[in-house]
């Protein structure tokens, strides 16, 4: 059993599970229940096996094997699983396990509407390809897996194709990812040009042959290509459109794990293959990271569609991961590999945490949408009374994402803060100012994320229902609750055992080429607590949580049973200074975020529109209803993407003039071609 786990066939068994799941769900075209059962069963079994395999692969270290020789010359289906890929397989399988668990209950509401077998097929194809993306060690094979992953996720995004803006979102998504892949192909081709092979090992061996200018252009191309997939700021416009359109357990997978494949490949490229790297690479990634973090959370605040809000938060968390990764790059180029390892550990730990709490949030948002049939937060309210467990899980998720102590979000942000702090001590002014900018951005993002999730949780679950839909919402089914519960538990466990996990991230780094030669491994963390290098600070997750619970217990004991034993508590109406409280009196999500949006008006460019509906259209004095909509303009689409689109379409309309219809003109083209060709030869 063990050698099966640690050999290549273990990985093929994993892929086999998913292929069987995909083909199986195609067979049950007619019977929805069977298709749902089959696909969920295989997904769960596959992901369980994936978790065991990744843990064993993590322990045994490097593992490289090839599938079968391909028909095409430069392509070889070869895999290489080192600690980094094993970690990412673990993250993918963990989240797939819980999403498939959740999916059993969630897919029920698609039964009569769409073909469940298609959902199963693409779902399994999508996961299989993510696994292949993180383990491929041949450029062409990587591109194949990357492209199939995008196409499978496109079909999942467009799954609910009755709604027209889902197809629009799907279109935007596939176009953006395809353009991103074009950039990645260009980067690989440039590497092929100087090392004339696509295998990562041989590229890395001859990476010294690549001239500096080419290496910089490869960096920029890879940054744009993988940045589009990861959703960094200038290339993020597909993310808030595509993730909400997909079914919830798929959008949880997409924003929890798929955008991390971009990060994985950046780590593989910049830290493993293209060493040694200049300083300005790390600085650019730091700047992009802080921009994405800050702007991501600002756009999330201005958003009132719950899934769009969570999608923007993915951009923010990708920004935080990039901060960790960027500081690692800066430290390497400055020669301090010890700190670089610490920074990489912070980035990887945050990837794991973000995967858990983001998928938890998406799953709970999914069940909320399932009950209320709308994604607009203004129509929620008071759901905690109808869906108590989902509300609790959403609360756990939002506490974890806004980095509040007992949960895992806080400890990865603590690590990122420590790396940035070390960066600030450097003498070079440029490096110090970028680190100060990054720390400021991270700090303010933390605050704004907190505000955003108070708004999200408060507007959705607390106070009174704002629409009739909420009144007949029921608690989500058992499988959904198990899925969410397990994820919430993961958030807590990763928080508590973050000390132990820290040591795992240490030896992820040591296996990348750049860290192979460092002598003393840093005491990244002993069993109980994190210790930053040059003992800059240490925190023990266990002690913190024990303190909190103990203090809470004592306070409740003292106040409830000692001091206040014989007092009575009476349930009365909320104080309403005389008028009867209607649900219009509550604060809405727009109201909540209005002050922050007005403060950051420069960036968000809000526009307030109020339509007034009069009782009698002629006499415009008695308004029947007044709706105020606060919208922020999407400056990227307005000032970059639409003009680009218009330019290409005018170009194409002008090119159509070639087909002018007159036969004489066509023959004239041939004469011109002959003349020019003869003249040149």
């Amino acid at each position: 059993m063990i050698n099966l786990l640690t050999s290549g066939s273990g990985f093929f068994l994993l892929l086999l599970f998913y292929t069987l799941g995909a083909i199986g769900s195609l067979i049950f075209k007619k019977k929805d229940e069977w298709a749902n059962g089959w696909q969920s069963l295989f997904a769960i079994v596959g992901s369980l096996w994936g978790i065991f395999f990744s843990i064993s692969a993590f322990m045994t270290g490097d593992l490289s094997f090839a599938a079968y020789s391909s028909v095409f010359p430069l392509l070889s289906f070869s895999f290489h699983i080192d600690q980094l890929s094993a970690f990412f397989i673990f993250v993918i399988s963990l989240i797939t396990l819980f999403c498939s668990l959740y999916g059993i209950g969630y897919i029920k509401h698609y039964y009569k509407k769409y073909s469940i077998s298609a959902l199963g097929f693409f779902y399994h194809l999508f996961i299989m390809d993510m696994l292949m993306v993180v383990t491929a060690s041949n450029g062409l094979f990587f591109l194949i897996a990357w492209e199939i992953m995008s196409i499978a996720s496109y079909f999942l995004v467009v799954y609910d194709h009755n709604d027209v803006n889902n197809t629009k979102a799907g279109f935007l998504y596939l176009v953006m990812t395809h353009v991103g892949t074009a950039f990645i192909i260009l980067a690989f081709l440039l590497m092929y040009k100087f090392t004339n092979s696509f295998d990562f090992e041989s590229i890395q061996a001859q990476s010294v042959a690549i001239p500096v200018f080419i290496k910089n252009s490869i960096f920029i191309l890879a940054l744009i290509g993988f940045g589009t997939k990861a959703g960094i700021i200038p290339f993020h416009i597909w993310l808030p459109a595509a993730h909400p359109a997909a079914p919830s357990h798929v959008s949880a997978l997409m924003s929890g794990v798929m955008i991390k494949t971009g990060i994985y490949m950046m780590i593989r490229l910049f830290l493993d293959i293209l060493q040694p790297i200049p300083l300005w690479w790390g600085i650019t990634i730091l700047i992009i990271g802080s921009l994405s973090a800050l702007l991501g959370v600002l756009y999330a605040l201005a958003e009132h569609d719950i899934k769009k809000l969570l999608a923007y938060h993915s951009i923010e968390n990708i920004g935080i991961i990039l901060l960790g990764f960027g500081s690692a790059l800066v430290f390497i180029s400055l020669g301090n590999t010890l700190l670089a390892l610490f920074g990489l550990g912070a980035a990887l730990f945050h990837t794991l945490n973000h995967a858990t709490f983001k998928s938890l949030l998406f799953l709970s948002a999914g069940s909320v949408i399932n009950q209320t049939h709308t994604r607009n937060m203004e129509e929620y309210g008071g759901l905690i009374k109808y869906m108590p467990q989902t509300a609790f899980f959403f609360l756990v998720g939002s506490m974890a994402i806004s980095a509040l102590p007992p949960f895992n979000g806080f400890f990865s942000e603590w690590l990122t803060f420590q790396t940035l702090l070390q960066g600030m001590t450097s003498v070079n002014i440029l490096v110090k100012s970028t680190f100060v900018l990054a720390t400021g951005a991270l700090a303010i993002t933390g605050g704004l994320a907190l505000a955003c999730f108070v708004k999200a949780f408060g507007a959705t679950f607390l106070a009174r229902p704002r629409s009739t839909e909420v009144a007949h919402a029921k608690e989500s089914s058992l499988s959904q609750l198990i899925g969410m519960g397990a994820l919430a538990l993961c958030c807590l466990l990763f928080g508590i055992f973050s000390g132990y996990l820290g040591s795992l991230f240490k030896n992820i780094g040591t296996h990348l080429t750049v860290f192979r030669n460092i002598s003393l491994p840093p005491i990244l963390s002993s069993k109980i607590n994190f210790i930053a290098p040059n003992n800059f600070g240490s925190v023990s997750a266990l002690a913190l949580i024990v303190f909190l619970i103990l203090a809470l217990f004592i306070v409740v004991l003292l106040v409830k049973f000692v001091i206040n034993r014989n007092q009575k508590t009476k349930i009365g109406a909320t104080w309403d200074c005389g008028t009867n409280l209607t649900q219009r009196m509550e604060i809405t999500a727009t109201g909540f975020a209005r002050s922050i949006i007005l403060i950051f008006a420069g960036i968000l460019r809000p526009s307030i529109q109020n339509e007034i509906e009069y009782r009698d259209s002629k006499i415009r004095y008695f308004p029947k209803s007044r709706t105020v909509t606060l919208r922020t303009r999407d400056i990227y689409r307005l000032y970059f993407y639409l003009p680009l689109n218009k330019f290409i379409t005018t170009l194409s309309v002008r090119a159509k003039a070639i087909q002018s219809g007159s036969i004489n003109m066509y023959v004239f083209y041939i004469l011109i071609a002959v003349a020019i060709a003869l003249f040149l030869s």
Partner: protein, 312 residues
């Protein structure tokens, strides 16, 4: 002996914080030449409220019921992990700067949620304004505290306070700038004057009061007490990190007694400053507060810029 000091450390924050509140009210009363209540009045209020009956709104969920306990517990935990009078405790487990900031954020998180839970208009607006300010204030707080961390080379609060004569060394200018930034954040976080008037119930201006409007009985007592604790924590942070004189470095009782006395004097001076500001200054309009906070952010960023300590 250590256990006695640990117990002292644990009970010191909840015990002394209502006292500071009393002192500030007394100073304000004196400046408005009225006698004002005694400085121990807050103790009596908390005791009274703990023994009164309670009314909870129908719309409130368990978040409303449970929030006061969580907020109070967070202040206790922070109280245990900041240097009050003894800097030799070296609580490396939770004595970290970021732990303090984010546990405070945990408290604000539940305070805002409790505010929104009852569904009254005041609670909603209170939480919205509170979250706006705390979002910006948290950024400035982290940068301000990072200046002291950078100048000493560690984020452990006890080691920072143990470092002794900070002002006289070359970091004099950066510490002063950082302290001013920190003081602005102190006023913002604890809801003192230029940001929010603690005494008023006027719905147009109140931020903090609006969130705890619906509370009564023992929950209101806990809330008031937690606010007092928060103020006391910020005051001690300000005092012990930026001016760490007179703090006990060794275990003998003589040093600890001096430590406590010096702590009380510093806290008293801070309360006086706050009291004077509250009586002389007018409350700023809500949309001018961000400019104040951004000045504090720039000050702390400048302070970090000035530190030339070379570790890397």
């Amino acid at each position: 002996m250590m256990i006695f000091i640990w117990i002292l450390q644990l009970i010191c924050v909840p015990a002394l914080s209502p006292l500071c509140m009393g002192i500030i009210k007394k100073i304000k009363a004196k400046l408005q030449n009225r006698v004002g209540a005694s400085i121990f009045q807050p103790y009596k209020d908390i005791w009274k409220l703990l023994h009164k009956d309670e009314v909870i709104s129908t719309d409130a969920s368990w978040v409303f019921r449970f929030a006061p306990f969580i907020i109070f517990a967070t202040t206790i935990v922070i109280g245990a992990s900041i240097p009050l009078f003894a800097s030799f405790l070296k609580n490396t487990l939770t004595g970290d700067l970021l732990v303090v900031v984010y546990t405070l954020a945990l408290g604000t998180f539940f305070l805002a949620l409790a505010g929104m839970d009852t569904g009254s208009a005041f609670g909603g607006f209170g939480s919205s304004r509170e979250m706006t300010i705390s979002a910006l204030a948290e950024g400035c707080l982290i940068l301000a505290l990072f200046t002291t961390a950078l100048s000493i080379g560690t984020t452990n609060l006890f080691v920072i306070s143990n470092a002794g004569m900070l002002l006289s060394t070359q970091f004099f200018l950066s510490t002063i700038l950082a302290f001013i930034g920190f003081f602005i954040v102190l006023l913002a976080e604890t809801g003192r004057f230029p940001f929010d008037n603690p005494a008023t119930h006027l719905e147009l201006t109140m931020i903090h009061e609006a969130m705890i409007l619906e509370y009564s009985g023992k929950r209101l007592a806990l809330m008031e007490w937690a606010v007092a604790n928060k103020f006391f924590i910020f005051a001690t942070l300000g005092a012990n990190l930026f001016f760490p004189y007179g703090i006990a470095h060794s275990v003998d009782t003589h040093a600890i007694v001096i430590g406590i006395i010096v702590l009380l004097i510093k806290i008293f001076i801070l309360c006086a400053i706050v009291g004077i500001i509250e009586s002389t200054m007018a409350k700023f309009r809500f949309f001018r507060l961000p400019d104040l906070l951004i000045t504090s952010l720039i000050l702390s960023a400048l302070a970090i810029g000035l530190i030339q300590m070379q570790i890397l």
